[in-house]
Amino acid sequence: MTINATLIGQMIAFAIFVWFTMKYVWPPIASAMAERQQKIADGLAAAEKGARALQDASSQAEAELVKAREEAREIVASANRQATALVEEAREQAKVEAQRIREAAEGEVDQQVMQARTALQKHVGRLVVEASAKILRKEVNADVHNDLLKQVEAQV
């Protein structure tokens, strides 16, 4: 083990090797590794953000669904109410109509009864007069007793 010029050769080689590593080897590798680290960190952050957004969206959807269900229930309820009201109204109208028809019919019946009665009275009056006339033919002059006859007729 003697020190000789090999030492100088090794020192020169060392200097060149370190320079080369510093200039051409370390920077690309280190920067690529740093870049990958950054990419992974970004990816993780994005994934977390996505998960959070998904959670937000699903909770929002849930809320919307609840609201929609509520609305639907309200609509059905109001429709029901409306339908009941319509039916009620229709029933009311029908009742009124029926009443009206019945009253009209009753009126007509009364009128006809009245007419029939009048006609019957006239008929009976005439029959009475005719009968009376037959009985009284000899004593009663039609011309003389016309007024009387008319009076009787009216009374009947």
Binding site: M1, T6, F14, F17, W26, A30
Partner: protein
């Protein structure tokens, strides 16, 4: 290749394995007995460059086709190492400096690869080298004290740079003269500081060198058993396996320790005391 059975040939075998392929720069000849400063250990420097080149080639290849999407197998491996180193740097180094993390990555992977050469069977590459006419070949660069000192002295230079960069000459001078015993003991403080700073590269490089050199030596000694009869051959196999398993730990741990201590030293240099 422990062909002989005598003591002498065993020694030769070990020495042979511990001898570098040397190039004498003054005469430009391959000389295993060359001495002096202007000698280069061709094997250490070539394997060191090859392994460093392998590291840079592989990491650069991945860096060019790096994707921020799902990483492929190679990219996964590279990112694992980068992430590991980055974590160590962030935990240990105060503040931020663009040099620290690439430096730590280079040290960790390069030292790890150099240490891994220890797990290649000790005779494989030297035998192949003999085939092409090279008599000596020491394949583990981190068992060469020149290689480990080359790294640690560079780290020392960076420690000095970091001190100047963060505190300025004045700040560093003040700190060296007044810490830790106050201005009255300035010379003593300075002496202590110099010793402290010098101890750092020495401990760094000798720790790595010592661990790997010892490990390599054990592998060589175990390899000696293979030629000493059937019983010792089997024993040798078992020992070799055990030592290799243990050494996987040592290889990784020493690379890790070198890297972490480098970061710690630079962190201390960057901090105001």
């Amino acid at each position: 290749m422990a062909s002989g059975k005598s003591e002498g040939s065993a020694t030769d075998y070990v020495v042979h394995h511990l001898t570098n392929l040397k190039l004498d720069l003054t005469t430009m000849t391959l000389d295993p007995y060359a001495t002096g400063f202007w000698v280069v250990h061709i094997d250490s420097i070539v394997f060191s460059l090859l392994l460093g080149g392998l590291f840079l080639w592989f990491f650069r290849k991945v860096a060019k086709s790096v994707t921020t999407g799902v990483p492929s197998g190679a990219q996964n491996l590279v990112e694992m190492v980068v992430d590991f180193v980055d974590t160590q740097v962030k935990e240990t180094f105060p503040g931020h400096h663009p040099l620290i993390a690439p430096l730590a990555l280079t040290i960790f992977v390069w030292v790890f690869l150099m240490n891994c050469m220890d797990l290649v069977p000790v005779d494989l590459l030297p035998t192949l080298a003999t085939g092409v006419g090279l008599d000596y070949l020491k394949v583990v660069p981190s068992t060469d004290v020149n290689i480990t000192f080359g790294l640690s002295l560079s780290v020392l230079a960076l420690i000095f740079y970091m001190n100047i960069h963060m505190k300025g000459w004045g700040g560093l001078g003040k700190e060296a003269l007044t810490q830790p015993f106050g201005a009255k003991l300035a010379p003593f403080n300075l002496l202590l500081r110099i010793v402290e700073e010098l101890a750092k590269p020495i401990s760094l490089s000798l720790r790595l060198f010592g661990n790997l050199f010892a490990g390599e030596l054990i592998f060589i000694l175990i390899a000696l058993l293979f030629t000493q009869g059937a019983v010792l051959f089997v024993t040798g196999l078992a020992l070799h396996w055990l030592w290799a398993v243990f050494h996987i730990l040592v290889v990784t741990l020493q690379a890790f320790v070198f890297m972490v201590l480098t970061i710690v030293y630079l962190g201390l240099a960057a901090e105001h005391h």
